[in-house]
């Protein structure tokens, strides 16, 4: 395999969990709910996927269970914030803390066991193509993540149900007045977000590193949350954001490991750029993905029109039907 193909494939692996979780959270936020529990739902997904795969011997069973577990766990958040009208921010944070603790308890007996890996599935016809072939020979969750973005984009902007969901997110009072069951819509949106986060967790414990270790999501849920704002609540931009983050993560490792003198045969200007990039301090390079995210967030926040148009107007607000 060519080196650059291998590099691009590692970018896909680094981006996919973020993409899965962020797409789910985008739908949740579009319905006007801010669920800060992504990290917690993700790690519940990771531990469920691993333990079910271990117990049943089926990685697909593990992935399916993770989807279910993520959705079930998010139901707790939905019940507290929608039915009991608890504060969304506080409940979301509590969900994350609970998820991290609970997963550690569930997974205790699985620590130190090598797991089963979800193998690549070649797409007939496409995987044989020159150059792009390897991209059609990846794990099924990678394909799922791409299909998911397309499906969510289509759902939100091309279907009546999507319009309803966005209406609920933009003005729950108006939606309610039109006879839409705001609470029911939000229940579904939250569970969809939970399912996606669960699948993202499964990606970590079944594909990226087939093992269970406590806290293995290591903050990816928070990055996914940032990506939703980064994408100003547009599905395609989530794809862009996730891959940008993944690409910078991988590229900076290569910048660290590269010996610039190996590139002295390249044109002078290109060599100068490589020499400069590889001479940057390692701490700066490792923080680059996060810096890039912050810079984009600041730029978006600075553009009032962009934020006004896309931010769900009821985001984070509790809804109590007045009758």
């Amino acid at each position: 395999m060519e080196v650059w193909v291998s590099i691009l494939l590692s970018i896909c692996a680094a981006s996919t969990p973020l993409l899965l979780a962020a797409t789910g959270e985008l739908v949740v936020e579009r319905s006007g709910v801010l669920n800060l529990g992504v990290e917690g739902m993700m790690i519940i997904g990771a531990v469920t996927a691993f333990s079910v795969a271990q117990a049943s011997g089926s990685v697909y069973g593990g992935a399916g269970a993770a989807i279910f577990a993520g959705a079930a766990f998010s139901l707790l958040f939905a019940f507290l914030t929608l039915t009991l009208v608890a504060n969304q921010v506080a409940t979301g944070l509590a969900l994350t803390i609970l998820g991290l603790g609970l997963s550690g308890m569930i997974g205790e007996s699985f620590v130190g066991l090598p797991g089963l890996k979800l193998d690549a599935v070649a797409i007939p016809g496409l995987s044989g193509l020159p150059v792009v072939g390897p991209f059609f020979n990846q794990d099924p969750l990678f394909y799922t993540s791409i299909v998911l973005v397309v499906a969510v984009a289509w759902f939100l902007f091309q279907t009546k149900a999507g319009l309803t969901l966005r209406a609920v997110g933009d003005s729950h009072d108006s939606a309610h007045a039109l006879g839409i069951n705001v609470i029911a819509v939000r229940y579904f949106a939250i569970m969809f977000g939970g399912a996606c986060a669960g699948l993202a967790g499964a990606y970590l414990s079944l594909v990226v590193v087939p093992q269970w270790t406590e806290g293995m999501t290591a903050g990816r849920g928070w990055i996914a949350l940032a990506l939703v704002v980064f994408a100003s609540w547009r599905p395609w931009r989530v794809l862009l954001g996730a891959y940008l983050f993944g690409a910078i993560t991988i590229a900076q490792f290569h910048a660290q490991a590269t010996d610039a003198s190996e590139f002295s045969h390249l044109p002078q200007w290109l060599f100068a750029i490589i020499a400069w990039a590889t001479s940057l301090p390692a701490q700066f390079l490792t923080s680059l993905p996060y810096l890039a995210t912050i810079v984009v967030l600041v730029l978006i926040a600075g553009n009032r029109r962009l934020t006004m148009i896309n931010t769900p107007a009821s985001l984070g607000k509790s809804f109590v039907p007045d009758r």
């Binding site: 550690g104 090598p114 970590l204 590193v209 010996d259």
Partner: protein, 359 residues
């Protein structure tokens, strides 16, 4: 009135439980541990927790242990450390380098509590001891194995933070490797975390794509070992025996054995003989143990065993001159052995490391 009565009742109940707890604590020694990662990392923290369990096994009912996981390495560590001191801990082990200042601050406030800080060098009051292990001794053996086993002549090193502990490991590894093959190269990648399995995996993939065929790590998860197994290269485990994660991949692993030390120190608190000290145990004391030499030809394993035996007996020390620093200046003369102070505060690369040290 009802409310007042209720709160009075609660308060007295609380006071009662508090006295009961204290009474219980008096005949039990309480040993407490602050961990950087989760006990289930199967690396650094896992091994410290094994040490804690040894303490429980050794003293049974006479001891009570407690631990806190995932304590950040910042000023925030202050609160949990002092919390332990207030909760009646007799001895507190803080098991990561950057707990150094919070530990010393807490020690000044609680002079009756004993503090033990791992891998640091500050002992600002008489109730603080420091302890560490000479993991670098194992790194030298690994360097030699890497130089014998590598086809490309390049090894990859996943590093966490540029602290003396990590820098010593890198230096010792390259000294070992270049004692076999003077042209041996090392690519170092800093991940700025002790524990982040997916990120460690990303770093491992990047290094392999860069042409290394031996992987070693100074981070705490088994992720790099799994990536190495997947890409069919060889790797060294870290902190614990990771052979299960790479049955055909792991060459050996440096195992941290904290148990004997923890048992000794808690025992010292019990019989009142605890005194401040600064120890740095290594292979000789059984603190640094090499996992079985696997997936290599017999002659390479034999060489590794011989080197390890020499280090263990004190016949050989990895940091023995002549050694130059990376900038070309002389550090150690022929036959001169590095002093402990320089090693403990090591903040420079030796000649042969092909990386710019982040400062």
């Amino acid at each position: 009135m009802k409310r007042l009565l209720a709160s009075l009742l609660t308060a007295s109940a609380l006071a009662l439980t508090a006295t009961a707890a204290v009474a219980e604590e008096q005949d039990k020694t309480k040993a407490c541990f602050i961990y950087i990662g989760p006990t289930g990392d199967f690396g650094w923290t896992y091994q410290h927790d094994q040490g804690r369990k040894s303490v429980e096994e050794a003293f049974g009912d006479k001891v009570e242990t407690a631990y806190l996981e995932n304590v950040p390495e910042s000023a925030e560590a202050q609160r949990p450390i002092e919390g332990f001191a207030r909760a009646g801990c007799d001895i507190i082990f803080t098991t990561s380098f950057n707990y150094m200042d919070p530990t010393n601050k807490a020690a000044k406030k609680f002079p009756d509590v004993k503090f033990e800080h791992a891998t640091g060098y500050k002992r600002e009051s008489p109730n603080v001891s420091t302890y560490s292990s000479k993991f670098y001794q194992g790194r030298y053996v690994q360097g030699q194995i890497a130089a014998r086993m590598s086809q490309t002549g390049v090894a990859g090193y996943i590093a966490s933070f540029p602290i003396p502990e990590v820098i010593r490991g890198i230096n010792s590894f390259i000294l070992g490797a270049q004692s076999i093959n003077p042209d041996f190269k090392l690519k170092v990648v800093w991940v700025s975390t002790w524990f982040d399995p997916p990120k460690e995996a990303d770093a491992a993939k990047a290094l392999i794509d860069q042409g290394v065929d031996i992987l070693t790590q100074h981070t705490d998860s088994t992720a790099p070992m799994q990536v190495a197994a997947e890409r069919d290269i060889k790797a060294f485990g870290q902190a614990s025996d990771m052979i299960k994660f790479g049955p055909e991949t792991q060459l050996t692993s440096i195992i941290d054995e904290w148990g004997p030390y923890y048992v000794e120190r808690v025992g010292a608190v019990m019989n009142g003989t605890w005194e401040q000290h600064d120890v740095w145990h290594g292979m000789a004391e059984g603190n640094v143990v090499m996992a079985p030499y696997t997936n290599m030809p017999d002659d390479v394993a034999k060489m590794a065993e011989e080197t390890a035996a020499k280090i263990k007996s004190g016949e050989f020390e990895p940091f023995t001159g002549p050694i130059k620093k990376q900038d070309g200046t002389d550090w150690l003369k022929e036959g001169e052995v590095a002093d402990l102070g320089t090693l403990l505060g090591m903040n420079f690369y030796v000649a042969g490391v092909d990386d710019k040290l982040p400062q």
